[in-house]
Protein backbone atom coordinates (compact mmCIF):
# COMPACT_ATOMS: atom_id res chain seq x y z
CA UNK A 1 0.00 0.00 0.00
CA UNK A 2 2.57 2.48 1.12
CA UNK A 3 4.88 1.36 -1.60
CA UNK A 4 2.35 2.08 -4.29
CA UNK A 5 1.67 5.51 -2.85
CA UNK A 6 5.33 6.27 -3.00
CA UNK A 7 5.36 5.05 -6.57
CA UNK A 8 2.53 7.35 -7.59
CA UNK A 9 4.11 10.24 -5.80
CA UNK A 10 7.42 9.73 -7.47
CA UNK A 11 5.73 9.60 -10.87
CA UNK A 12 3.91 12.80 -10.06
CA UNK A 13 7.15 14.48 -9.07
CA UNK A 14 8.93 13.29 -12.19
CA UNK A 15 6.08 14.47 -14.36
CA UNK A 16 6.07 17.81 -12.56
CA UNK A 17 9.77 18.29 -13.03
CA UNK A 18 9.54 17.24 -16.67
CA UNK A 19 6.71 19.65 -17.38
CA UNK A 20 8.54 22.40 -15.51
CA UNK A 21 11.54 21.82 -17.64
CA UNK A 22 9.47 22.01 -20.77
CA UNK A 23 8.01 25.32 -19.79
CA UNK A 24 11.37 26.83 -18.99
CA UNK A 25 12.97 25.85 -22.34
CA UNK A 26 12.33 28.67 -24.80
CA UNK A 27 9.98 27.96 -27.68
CA UNK A 28 11.79 26.67 -30.76
CA UNK A 29 11.58 27.98 -34.30
CA UNK A 30 8.36 27.39 -36.16
CA UNK A 31 6.93 27.11 -39.61
CA UNK A 32 5.62 30.20 -41.32
CA UNK A 33 3.85 29.63 -44.62
CA UNK A 34 3.11 32.57 -46.86
CA UNK A 35 0.38 32.28 -49.43
CA UNK A 36 0.33 34.52 -52.47
CA UNK A 37 -3.35 34.62 -53.39
CA UNK A 38 -3.59 36.34 -56.76
CA UNK A 39 -6.60 38.61 -57.17
CA UNK A 40 -8.01 41.16 -59.59
CA UNK A 41 -9.39 44.03 -57.58
CA UNK A 42 -11.78 42.54 -55.04
CA UNK A 43 -12.30 39.30 -56.97
CA UNK A 44 -10.19 36.17 -57.16
CA UNK A 45 -8.00 36.09 -60.27
CA UNK A 46 -9.16 33.52 -62.81
CA UNK A 47 -7.00 33.03 -65.87
CA UNK A 48 -8.56 33.13 -69.35
CA UNK A 49 -12.20 32.95 -68.29
CA UNK A 50 -13.01 36.20 -66.55
CA UNK A 51 -12.97 39.85 -67.60
CA UNK A 52 -11.90 42.55 -65.17
CA UNK A 53 -11.83 46.35 -65.40
CA UNK A 54 -8.76 48.40 -64.57
CA UNK A 55 -8.78 51.96 -63.20
CA UNK A 56 -8.84 53.30 -66.74
CA UNK A 57 -12.02 51.26 -67.36
CA UNK A 58 -10.27 48.99 -69.87
CA UNK A 59 -11.38 45.37 -69.97
CA UNK A 60 -8.67 42.84 -69.16
CA UNK A 61 -8.60 39.07 -69.40
CA UNK A 62 -5.41 37.60 -67.96
CA UNK A 63 -3.78 34.49 -69.42
CA UNK A 64 -0.58 34.62 -67.41
CA UNK A 65 0.61 36.14 -64.14
CA UNK A 66 4.03 35.21 -62.79
CA UNK A 67 6.59 36.94 -60.58
CA UNK A 68 9.71 36.43 -58.51
CA UNK A 69 9.78 37.26 -54.81
CA UNK A 70 13.02 36.93 -52.84
CA UNK A 71 15.12 37.92 -49.84
CA UNK A 72 12.51 37.60 -47.11
CA UNK A 73 13.09 39.30 -43.77
CA UNK A 74 10.74 39.02 -40.78
CA UNK A 75 10.81 41.90 -38.29
CA UNK A 76 9.98 41.50 -34.62
CA UNK A 77 8.27 43.88 -32.26
CA UNK A 78 11.62 45.00 -30.85
CA UNK A 79 12.99 45.77 -34.30
CA UNK A 80 15.26 42.73 -34.49
CA UNK A 81 14.97 40.63 -37.62
CA UNK A 82 15.09 37.10 -38.95
CA UNK A 83 16.71 36.99 -42.38
CA UNK A 84 15.71 33.92 -44.38
CA UNK A 85 18.92 32.13 -45.49
CA UNK A 86 20.08 33.01 -49.02
CA UNK A 87 19.88 29.44 -50.23
CA UNK A 88 16.14 29.29 -49.60
CA UNK A 89 14.91 32.80 -50.28
CA UNK A 90 14.00 32.81 -54.00
CA UNK A 91 10.50 31.94 -55.18
CA UNK A 92 8.63 32.06 -58.44
CA UNK A 93 4.89 32.53 -57.99
CA UNK A 94 2.80 31.37 -60.94
CA UNK A 95 -0.97 31.78 -61.10
CA UNK A 96 -1.13 28.65 -63.26
CA UNK A 97 0.63 26.53 -60.63
CA UNK A 98 -1.14 26.20 -57.27
CA UNK A 99 1.84 24.66 -55.51
CA UNK A 100 4.00 27.66 -56.32
CA UNK A 101 1.61 30.01 -54.54
CA UNK A 102 2.49 29.01 -51.00
CA UNK A 103 6.09 29.38 -49.88
CA UNK A 104 7.37 27.99 -46.61
CA UNK A 105 9.87 29.21 -44.05
CA UNK A 106 10.36 26.23 -41.73
CA UNK A 107 12.76 27.80 -39.23
CA UNK A 108 11.45 31.16 -38.13
CA UNK A 109 12.65 31.77 -34.55
CA UNK A 110 9.89 32.14 -31.98
CA UNK A 111 8.89 35.70 -31.22
CA UNK A 112 6.38 38.44 -31.76
CA UNK A 113 6.53 39.74 -35.30
CA UNK A 114 5.13 42.84 -36.89
CA UNK A 115 6.04 42.72 -40.60
CA UNK A 116 7.66 40.93 -43.50
CA UNK A 117 9.95 42.56 -46.05
CA UNK A 118 10.88 41.11 -49.42
CA UNK A 119 12.15 41.99 -52.88
CA UNK A 120 10.02 41.79 -56.02
CA UNK A 121 12.46 40.28 -58.50
CA UNK A 122 15.95 38.84 -58.19
CA UNK A 123 18.67 40.95 -56.56
CA UNK A 124 21.70 42.08 -58.58
CA UNK A 125 24.12 39.72 -56.84
CA UNK A 126 22.09 36.69 -57.83
CA UNK A 127 21.35 38.20 -61.24
CA UNK A 128 25.07 38.18 -62.03
CA UNK A 129 25.93 34.90 -60.27
CA UNK A 130 27.57 32.06 -62.18
CA UNK A 131 25.19 29.45 -63.59
CA UNK A 132 26.15 26.91 -60.89
CA UNK A 133 24.47 29.18 -58.35
CA UNK A 134 21.25 29.46 -60.32
CA UNK A 135 19.30 26.38 -59.35
CA UNK A 136 15.59 25.60 -58.96
CA UNK A 137 13.40 28.52 -59.97
CA UNK A 138 16.53 30.46 -60.96
CA UNK A 139 17.70 27.92 -63.54
CA UNK A 140 17.55 29.97 -66.71
CA UNK A 141 17.53 26.92 -68.96
CA UNK A 142 14.37 25.43 -67.42
CA UNK A 143 12.71 28.76 -66.58
CA UNK A 144 13.74 30.41 -69.83
CA UNK A 145 10.38 32.17 -70.08
CA UNK A 146 11.36 34.28 -67.06
CA UNK A 147 14.78 35.27 -68.40
CA UNK A 148 15.65 37.91 -70.95
CA UNK A 149 18.36 36.66 -73.23
CA UNK A 150 18.68 39.93 -75.12
CA UNK A 151 19.26 41.88 -71.91
CA UNK A 152 20.71 39.33 -69.49
CA UNK A 153 18.49 39.15 -66.48
CA UNK A 154 15.36 37.73 -64.94
CA UNK A 155 11.91 39.03 -65.78
CA UNK A 156 10.64 40.05 -62.35
CA UNK A 157 6.95 40.37 -63.11
CA UNK A 158 5.24 39.05 -66.22
CA UNK A 159 1.58 39.26 -67.11
CA UNK A 160 -0.19 38.71 -70.40
CA UNK A 161 -3.74 38.55 -71.72
CA UNK A 162 -6.21 40.32 -73.96
CA UNK A 163 -8.00 43.64 -73.62
CA UNK A 164 -10.77 43.08 -76.16
CA UNK A 165 -12.42 40.17 -77.98
CA UNK A 166 -11.03 41.55 -81.24
CA UNK A 167 -8.12 39.68 -82.76
CA UNK A 168 -4.66 40.95 -81.90
CA UNK A 169 -5.80 42.82 -78.80
CA UNK A 170 -3.13 41.27 -76.61
CA UNK A 171 -1.40 42.90 -73.71
CA UNK A 172 2.04 41.89 -72.42
CA UNK A 173 3.77 43.50 -69.47
CA UNK A 174 7.25 42.14 -68.76
CA UNK A 175 9.35 44.03 -66.26
CA UNK A 176 12.93 43.20 -65.25
CA UNK A 177 16.21 45.10 -64.91
CA UNK A 178 18.59 44.73 -61.98
CA UNK A 179 20.98 47.55 -62.85
CA UNK A 180 23.40 45.84 -65.22
CA UNK A 181 26.76 44.12 -65.25
CA UNK A 182 29.74 46.40 -65.97
CA UNK A 183 27.74 49.20 -67.60
CA UNK A 184 24.54 50.57 -66.03
CA UNK A 185 21.08 49.51 -67.15
CA UNK A 186 17.60 50.12 -65.75
CA UNK A 187 17.02 49.08 -62.14
CA UNK A 188 13.45 48.06 -61.37
CA UNK A 189 14.12 46.09 -58.19
CA UNK A 190 11.52 46.93 -55.56
CA UNK A 191 11.51 46.08 -51.89
CA UNK A 192 8.21 46.02 -50.04
CA UNK A 193 7.32 45.76 -46.36
CA UNK A 194 3.92 44.37 -45.38
CA UNK A 195 2.75 44.97 -41.83
CA UNK A 196 0.73 42.23 -40.20
CA UNK A 197 -2.89 42.90 -39.31
CA UNK A 198 -3.28 42.48 -35.54
CA UNK A 199 0.49 42.83 -35.01
CA UNK A 200 2.40 41.63 -33.11
CA UNK A 201 1.82 38.03 -34.21
CA UNK A 202 3.51 35.12 -32.43
CA UNK A 203 5.60 32.72 -34.48
CA UNK A 204 7.39 29.65 -33.12
CA UNK A 205 7.21 25.92 -32.61
CA UNK A 206 3.90 26.31 -30.79
CA UNK A 207 2.65 28.92 -33.24
CA UNK A 208 2.95 27.67 -36.81
CA UNK A 209 1.38 30.38 -38.92
CA UNK A 210 -0.10 30.90 -42.35
CA UNK A 211 0.16 34.40 -43.80
CA UNK A 212 -2.56 34.94 -46.35
CA UNK A 213 -1.39 37.61 -48.80
CA UNK A 214 -3.57 39.14 -51.48
CA UNK A 215 -1.82 40.12 -54.72
CA UNK A 216 -3.84 42.37 -56.99
CA UNK A 217 -2.85 41.78 -60.63
CA UNK A 218 -4.70 44.93 -61.71
CA UNK A 219 -2.13 46.98 -59.79
CA UNK A 220 0.34 46.26 -62.59
CA UNK A 221 -1.58 48.87 -64.56
CA UNK A 222 -3.28 50.78 -61.72
CA UNK A 223 -1.49 53.10 -59.36
CA UNK A 224 0.61 56.23 -59.53
CA UNK A 225 0.48 55.85 -63.30
CA UNK A 226 -2.81 54.43 -64.51
CA UNK A 227 -1.89 52.68 -67.73
CA UNK A 228 -4.30 52.71 -70.65
CA UNK A 229 -4.03 49.13 -71.86
CA UNK A 230 -5.17 49.73 -75.46
CA UNK A 231 -2.73 52.66 -75.78
CA UNK A 232 0.24 50.86 -74.21
CA UNK A 233 -0.47 47.16 -74.60
CA UNK A 234 3.14 45.98 -74.65
CA UNK A 235 5.91 46.83 -72.23
CA UNK A 236 9.01 44.63 -72.27
CA UNK A 237 11.44 46.65 -70.27
CA UNK A 238 12.06 50.07 -71.79
CA UNK A 239 10.90 53.56 -70.89
CA UNK A 240 7.49 52.51 -69.49
CA UNK A 241 8.81 49.75 -67.24
CA UNK A 242 9.65 51.91 -64.18
CA UNK A 243 6.07 53.23 -63.98
CA UNK A 244 4.74 49.68 -63.98
CA UNK A 245 7.23 48.60 -61.32
CA UNK A 246 6.15 51.57 -59.19
CA UNK A 247 2.55 50.42 -59.59
CA UNK A 248 3.04 46.76 -58.79
CA UNK A 249 5.17 47.39 -55.74
CA UNK A 250 1.81 48.16 -54.09
CA UNK A 251 0.01 45.03 -55.24
CA UNK A 252 0.75 43.00 -52.09
CA UNK A 253 -1.21 43.20 -48.86
CA UNK A 254 -1.46 40.76 -45.95
CA UNK A 255 -5.18 39.99 -45.62
CA UNK A 256 -5.02 37.84 -42.50
CA UNK A 257 -2.83 35.46 -40.55
CA UNK A 258 -4.12 32.17 -39.21
CA UNK A 259 -2.75 29.18 -37.36
CA UNK A 260 -1.20 26.71 -39.76
Amino acid sequence: MKKSHLFILSIAIVTFIASCKKESTPEGPGMVAMEFDNRAGSADLELNTTWYKNANNDSMNFSLFKYYVSNFIFTKEDGSTYVVPKESCYFLIDEADDVSQTVEFPDVPAGKYTSVTFTIGVDSLKSTAPQSERTGVLDVTTHADMYWVWNSGYIFVKTEGTFSQAAGADFMYHVGGFGGYSSPTQNNLKTVTLTFPGAPVSFGSNNHKHIHTFVDALKVVNGTTNISVPTTPVVMGGPNAPAIANNYKNMFVVDHIEAE
Binding site: S152, G180, T185, Q186
Partner: protein, 341 residues
Amino acid sequence: MLKKIYYIALVVFFIQCTKKEDAQPNIDNGFVAPTNFPAVRYNLTENPYSNEKRELGRKLFYDARLSRDNTVSCGSCHQQVASFAHAGHRVSHGIDNKLGTRNSPALFNLAWQPLFFWDGGVGDLDLFHINPIQNPVEMDETIPTVIDKLKTDNNYLALFNKAFGTSEITAIRFNQALSTFLISIVSNQSKYDEYLAGKTTLTSTEQAGLDLFNQKCASCHSGILFTDFSFRNNGLSTTSDFGRFRVSVITTDSFKFKVPSLRNVEKSSPYMHDGRFNTLDEVLNHYSNSVVNTTTTLDTILQRNNTLGIPMTNDEKTKIISFLKTLTDNKFLNDSRFSEF
Protein backbone atom coordinates in the same frame (compact mmCIF):
# COMPACT_ATOMS: atom_id res chain seq x y z
CA MET B 1 81.05 11.54 -74.78
CA LEU B 2 80.45 14.66 -72.74
CA LYS B 3 80.37 16.66 -75.93
CA LYS B 4 77.65 14.38 -77.28
CA ILE B 5 75.50 14.97 -74.20
CA TYR B 6 75.96 18.70 -74.54
CA TYR B 7 74.84 18.51 -78.15
CA ILE B 8 71.77 16.51 -77.25
CA ALA B 9 70.93 18.92 -74.46
CA LEU B 10 71.32 21.83 -76.83
CA VAL B 11 69.09 20.22 -79.45
CA VAL B 12 66.42 19.41 -76.88
CA PHE B 13 66.61 22.97 -75.64
CA PHE B 14 66.08 24.34 -79.15
CA ILE B 15 63.19 22.01 -79.85
CA GLN B 16 61.51 23.16 -76.70
CA CYS B 17 62.07 26.75 -77.61
CA THR B 18 60.52 26.40 -81.05
CA LYS B 19 57.68 24.35 -79.63
CA LYS B 20 56.83 27.16 -77.26
CA GLU B 21 56.61 29.63 -80.09
CA ASP B 22 54.46 27.40 -82.24
CA ALA B 23 52.04 26.87 -79.40
CA GLN B 24 51.10 30.57 -79.37
CA PRO B 25 48.31 31.25 -78.60
CA ASN B 26 48.98 28.83 -75.79
CA ILE B 27 45.73 26.99 -75.34
CA ASP B 28 46.99 23.42 -75.17
CA ASN B 29 48.54 23.59 -71.71
CA GLY B 30 45.85 25.45 -69.85
CA PHE B 31 44.62 28.86 -70.92
CA VAL B 32 47.71 31.05 -71.04
CA ALA B 33 46.96 34.66 -71.88
CA PRO B 34 49.36 36.43 -74.25
CA THR B 35 51.67 38.58 -72.12
CA ASN B 36 50.76 41.81 -73.89
CA PHE B 37 47.01 41.32 -73.42
CA PRO B 38 45.04 42.83 -70.51
CA ALA B 39 43.65 40.73 -67.64
CA VAL B 40 41.28 37.93 -68.63
CA ARG B 41 37.62 38.76 -67.90
CA TYR B 42 36.20 35.28 -68.28
CA ASN B 43 35.70 33.45 -64.96
CA LEU B 44 38.17 30.56 -65.26
CA THR B 45 37.73 29.65 -61.58
CA GLU B 46 34.08 28.86 -62.18
CA ASN B 47 34.85 26.93 -65.36
CA PRO B 48 38.46 25.68 -65.34
CA TYR B 49 39.95 25.34 -68.81
CA SER B 50 40.83 21.99 -70.33
CA ASN B 51 41.58 20.64 -73.80
CA GLU B 52 38.84 18.05 -73.38
CA LYS B 53 36.21 20.72 -72.70
CA ARG B 54 37.49 22.70 -75.67
CA GLU B 55 37.17 19.66 -77.93
CA LEU B 56 33.64 18.97 -76.72
CA GLY B 57 32.78 22.65 -77.19
CA ARG B 58 34.11 22.59 -80.73
CA LYS B 59 31.92 19.59 -81.53
CA LEU B 60 28.86 21.39 -80.10
CA PHE B 61 29.68 24.60 -81.97
CA TYR B 62 29.50 22.76 -85.29
CA ASP B 63 26.52 20.56 -84.41
CA ALA B 64 23.25 21.43 -86.18
CA ARG B 65 21.29 19.42 -83.61
CA LEU B 66 21.44 22.57 -81.51
CA SER B 67 18.66 23.93 -83.75
CA ARG B 68 14.98 22.91 -83.87
CA ASP B 69 15.10 21.20 -87.26
CA ASN B 70 18.77 20.16 -87.03
CA THR B 71 19.82 22.48 -89.89
CA VAL B 72 21.62 25.39 -88.24
CA SER B 73 24.79 25.23 -86.13
CA CYS B 74 26.67 28.05 -84.45
CA GLY B 75 29.22 27.57 -87.22
CA SER B 76 26.59 28.38 -89.88
CA CYS B 77 26.60 32.02 -88.86
CA HIS B 78 30.14 32.13 -87.48
CA GLN B 79 32.57 30.83 -90.12
CA GLN B 80 36.26 30.40 -89.46
CA VAL B 81 37.28 31.69 -92.94
CA ALA B 82 35.41 34.89 -92.14
CA SER B 83 37.00 35.27 -88.71
CA PHE B 84 33.87 33.59 -87.34
CA ALA B 85 31.56 36.23 -88.81
CA HIS B 86 28.95 35.33 -91.43
CA ALA B 87 30.52 35.80 -94.85
CA GLY B 88 28.35 37.70 -97.30
CA HIS B 89 25.45 38.13 -94.92
CA ARG B 90 24.40 41.64 -94.07
CA VAL B 91 22.19 40.40 -91.24
CA SER B 92 22.11 36.92 -89.80
CA HIS B 93 20.30 34.20 -91.65
CA GLY B 94 18.95 31.42 -89.47
CA ILE B 95 16.37 28.68 -89.31
CA ASP B 96 13.54 28.49 -91.92
CA ASN B 97 15.53 31.12 -93.88
CA LYS B 98 14.48 33.76 -91.38
CA LEU B 99 16.53 36.92 -91.17
CA GLY B 100 17.71 38.54 -87.98
CA THR B 101 18.21 42.27 -87.61
CA ARG B 102 21.91 42.38 -86.89
CA ASN B 103 25.18 41.34 -88.45
CA SER B 104 26.97 38.28 -87.03
CA PRO B 105 30.05 39.66 -85.33
CA ALA B 106 33.47 38.07 -85.72
CA LEU B 107 34.37 35.87 -82.74
CA PHE B 108 37.83 35.87 -81.15
CA ASN B 109 39.51 37.04 -77.95
CA LEU B 110 36.16 36.66 -76.19
CA ALA B 111 37.87 35.92 -72.86
CA TRP B 112 38.71 39.62 -72.66
CA GLN B 113 35.28 40.94 -73.60
CA PRO B 114 33.18 42.37 -70.76
CA LEU B 115 29.77 42.41 -72.49
CA PHE B 116 28.45 40.61 -75.54
CA PHE B 117 26.24 41.62 -78.47
CA TRP B 118 26.35 44.87 -80.41
CA ASP B 119 24.43 46.51 -77.57
CA GLY B 120 26.18 44.70 -74.72
CA GLY B 121 22.92 43.08 -73.66
CA VAL B 122 24.60 39.88 -72.48
CA GLY B 123 26.89 39.88 -69.47
CA ASP B 124 27.98 36.27 -68.94
CA LEU B 125 29.40 34.08 -71.68
CA ASP B 126 28.24 30.90 -69.87
CA LEU B 127 24.65 32.12 -70.07
CA PHE B 128 25.15 33.41 -73.60
CA HIS B 129 24.38 30.21 -75.48
CA ILE B 130 20.70 30.31 -74.56
CA ASN B 131 20.44 33.32 -76.89
CA PRO B 132 20.99 31.92 -80.35
CA ILE B 133 19.55 28.53 -79.42
CA GLN B 134 16.21 29.97 -78.30
CA ASN B 135 16.00 32.86 -80.73
CA PRO B 136 13.11 32.05 -83.10
CA VAL B 137 15.00 33.50 -86.06
CA GLU B 138 18.30 31.82 -85.23
CA MET B 139 18.04 28.23 -83.95
CA ASP B 140 14.55 28.18 -82.34
CA GLU B 141 15.28 25.35 -79.94
CA THR B 142 15.38 25.02 -76.14
CA ILE B 143 18.37 23.91 -74.10
CA PRO B 144 16.50 21.06 -72.31
CA THR B 145 15.53 19.61 -75.73
CA VAL B 146 19.08 19.97 -77.00
CA ILE B 147 20.33 18.12 -73.92
CA ASP B 148 17.81 15.33 -74.59
CA LYS B 149 19.00 15.06 -78.18
CA LEU B 150 22.64 14.84 -77.08
CA LYS B 151 21.88 12.16 -74.48
CA THR B 152 20.93 9.74 -77.24
CA ASP B 153 24.38 10.02 -78.81
CA ASN B 154 27.06 7.70 -77.39
CA ASN B 155 29.77 9.88 -78.85
CA TYR B 156 28.64 12.78 -76.71
CA LEU B 157 28.34 10.61 -73.62
CA ALA B 158 32.00 9.71 -74.13
CA LEU B 159 33.05 13.33 -74.76
CA PHE B 160 31.21 14.61 -71.67
CA ASN B 161 32.85 11.85 -69.68
CA LYS B 162 36.29 12.92 -70.93
CA ALA B 163 35.62 16.58 -70.22
CA PHE B 164 33.82 16.36 -66.87
CA GLY B 165 34.66 12.96 -65.39
CA THR B 166 31.19 11.47 -65.78
CA SER B 167 28.97 11.11 -68.82
CA GLU B 168 26.14 13.12 -67.29
CA ILE B 169 24.93 15.79 -69.72
CA THR B 170 23.61 18.90 -68.01
CA ALA B 171 22.85 22.44 -69.14
CA ILE B 172 25.73 23.78 -67.02
CA ARG B 173 28.24 21.41 -68.59
CA PHE B 174 26.87 22.13 -72.04
CA ASN B 175 27.30 25.87 -71.55
CA GLN B 176 30.74 25.49 -69.99
CA ALA B 177 32.03 23.38 -72.87
CA LEU B 178 30.79 25.89 -75.45
CA SER B 179 32.34 28.75 -73.48
CA THR B 180 35.66 26.93 -73.21
CA PHE B 181 35.75 26.51 -76.97
CA LEU B 182 34.83 30.16 -77.53
CA ILE B 183 37.49 31.56 -75.20
CA SER B 184 40.10 29.29 -76.77
CA ILE B 185 39.66 31.19 -80.04
CA VAL B 186 42.50 33.61 -79.50
CA SER B 187 43.89 35.72 -82.31
CA ASN B 188 47.31 37.24 -81.64
CA GLN B 189 49.55 36.07 -84.49
CA SER B 190 48.93 38.64 -87.18
CA LYS B 191 51.74 40.37 -89.05
CA TYR B 192 51.21 43.32 -86.73
CA ASP B 193 51.79 41.07 -83.67
CA GLU B 194 54.99 39.77 -85.23
CA TYR B 195 56.03 43.34 -85.90
CA LEU B 196 55.41 44.18 -82.22
CA ALA B 197 57.50 41.18 -81.21
CA GLY B 198 60.31 42.44 -83.42
CA LYS B 199 60.09 39.46 -85.76
CA THR B 200 59.13 41.33 -88.89
CA THR B 201 58.94 44.85 -90.22
CA LEU B 202 56.06 46.76 -91.75
CA THR B 203 56.31 48.14 -95.28
CA SER B 204 56.50 51.91 -95.45
CA THR B 205 52.85 52.08 -96.53
CA GLU B 206 51.76 49.88 -93.62
CA GLN B 207 53.86 51.93 -91.22
CA ALA B 208 52.33 55.17 -92.51
CA GLY B 209 48.91 53.52 -92.12
CA LEU B 210 49.69 52.58 -88.52
CA ASP B 211 50.64 56.18 -87.73
CA LEU B 212 47.44 57.50 -89.32
CA PHE B 213 45.42 54.84 -87.50
CA ASN B 214 46.88 55.93 -84.19
CA GLN B 215 45.93 59.53 -84.92
CA LYS B 216 42.46 58.97 -86.30
CA CYS B 217 41.04 55.69 -85.11
CA ALA B 218 42.81 54.43 -81.99
CA SER B 219 40.87 56.60 -79.58
CA CYS B 220 38.01 54.12 -79.96
CA HIS B 221 39.62 51.07 -81.59
CA SER B 222 42.27 51.17 -78.92
CA GLY B 223 45.01 49.00 -77.45
CA ILE B 224 46.15 45.52 -78.31
CA LEU B 225 42.53 44.32 -78.68
CA PHE B 226 41.66 47.23 -81.01
CA THR B 227 38.59 48.19 -79.00
CA ASP B 228 37.93 49.89 -75.68
CA PHE B 229 34.62 47.93 -75.45
CA SER B 230 32.69 51.17 -74.97
CA PHE B 231 29.39 51.97 -76.67
CA ARG B 232 29.52 54.84 -79.14
CA ASN B 233 27.66 56.44 -82.00
CA ASN B 234 30.03 56.55 -84.98
CA GLY B 235 27.73 58.64 -87.15
CA LEU B 236 25.85 56.03 -89.18
CA SER B 237 22.46 57.16 -90.45
CA THR B 238 20.01 55.78 -87.94
CA THR B 239 17.48 52.98 -88.31
CA SER B 240 14.89 51.63 -85.89
CA ASP B 241 17.70 49.92 -83.96
CA PHE B 242 18.40 52.04 -80.89
CA GLY B 243 21.50 50.04 -79.92
CA ARG B 244 22.64 50.34 -76.30
CA PHE B 245 19.48 52.28 -75.40
CA ARG B 246 17.43 49.11 -75.92
CA VAL B 247 19.30 47.59 -72.99
CA SER B 248 20.06 50.53 -70.72
CA VAL B 249 17.02 52.74 -71.40
CA ILE B 250 19.31 55.73 -70.89
CA THR B 251 18.46 58.35 -73.53
CA THR B 252 22.10 59.32 -74.08
CA ASP B 253 22.80 55.70 -75.09
CA SER B 254 20.58 55.95 -78.17
CA PHE B 255 22.18 54.65 -81.38
CA LYS B 256 25.35 53.63 -79.61
CA PHE B 257 26.91 50.29 -80.45
CA LYS B 258 29.87 48.41 -79.10
CA VAL B 259 33.17 49.46 -80.67
CA PRO B 260 34.22 46.28 -82.51
CA SER B 261 37.77 44.96 -82.56
CA LEU B 262 39.47 45.46 -85.92
CA ARG B 263 41.62 42.34 -85.79
CA ASN B 264 40.98 40.20 -88.91
CA VAL B 265 38.70 42.95 -90.20
CA GLU B 266 39.87 42.24 -93.77
CA LYS B 267 38.05 38.87 -93.48
CA SER B 268 34.86 39.77 -91.60
CA SER B 269 32.89 41.80 -94.13
CA PRO B 270 30.13 42.99 -94.22
CA TYR B 271 30.65 45.71 -91.62
CA MET B 272 28.76 47.54 -88.83
CA HIS B 273 25.93 46.26 -86.62
CA ASP B 274 23.60 45.96 -89.60
CA GLY B 275 26.22 44.90 -92.13
CA ARG B 276 25.56 47.97 -94.27
CA PHE B 277 29.08 48.25 -95.75
CA ASN B 278 30.69 45.54 -97.86
CA THR B 279 34.23 46.87 -98.13
CA LEU B 280 36.78 48.70 -96.03
CA ASP B 281 36.77 51.46 -98.67
CA GLU B 282 33.10 52.05 -97.93
CA VAL B 283 33.85 52.15 -94.20
CA LEU B 284 36.56 54.76 -94.63
CA ASN B 285 34.38 56.79 -96.99
CA HIS B 286 31.77 56.76 -94.27
CA TYR B 287 34.20 58.18 -91.72
CA SER B 288 35.49 60.85 -94.12
CA ASN B 289 32.30 61.85 -95.94
CA SER B 290 29.06 60.55 -94.55
CA VAL B 291 29.15 60.84 -90.78
CA VAL B 292 25.77 62.28 -89.82
CA ASN B 293 24.62 63.96 -86.66
CA THR B 294 20.95 63.07 -86.75
CA THR B 295 20.94 62.51 -83.03
CA THR B 296 22.54 64.23 -80.12
CA THR B 297 24.61 61.17 -79.32
CA LEU B 298 27.23 61.39 -82.10
CA ASP B 299 30.64 60.84 -80.52
CA THR B 300 32.48 64.11 -79.86
CA ILE B 301 35.62 62.68 -81.48
CA LEU B 302 33.71 62.70 -84.76
CA GLN B 303 32.73 66.37 -84.61
CA ARG B 304 35.97 68.18 -83.90
CA ASN B 305 36.64 71.68 -85.21
CA ASN B 306 33.05 71.94 -86.43
CA THR B 307 33.72 69.21 -88.97
CA LEU B 308 31.70 66.03 -89.06
CA GLY B 309 33.70 62.84 -89.41
CA ILE B 310 37.41 62.18 -89.82
CA PRO B 311 39.04 64.12 -92.64
CA MET B 312 41.20 61.77 -94.76
CA THR B 313 42.69 61.95 -98.25
CA ASN B 314 42.40 58.96 -100.58
CA ASP B 315 46.09 58.30 -100.10
CA GLU B 316 45.64 58.24 -96.33
CA LYS B 317 42.71 55.83 -96.66
CA THR B 318 44.80 53.45 -98.77
CA LYS B 319 47.51 53.53 -96.15
CA ILE B 320 45.11 52.87 -93.30
CA ILE B 321 43.61 49.92 -95.16
CA SER B 322 47.02 48.44 -95.83
CA PHE B 323 47.71 48.69 -92.11
CA LEU B 324 44.34 47.09 -91.25
CA LYS B 325 45.35 44.13 -93.41
CA THR B 326 48.38 43.53 -91.19
CA LEU B 327 45.82 42.59 -88.50
CA THR B 328 44.85 39.48 -90.46
CA ASP B 329 45.91 36.42 -88.51
CA ASN B 330 46.26 33.54 -90.97
CA LYS B 331 47.32 31.09 -88.29
CA PHE B 332 44.07 31.71 -86.42
CA LEU B 333 42.02 31.55 -89.64
CA ASN B 334 43.51 28.13 -90.41
CA ASP B 335 43.99 26.73 -86.91
CA SER B 336 42.59 23.19 -86.97
CA ARG B 337 41.79 23.40 -83.26
CA PHE B 338 38.99 25.82 -84.18
CA SER B 339 37.76 24.20 -87.39
CA GLU B 340 34.84 21.93 -88.08
CA PHE B 341 36.85 18.92 -89.28
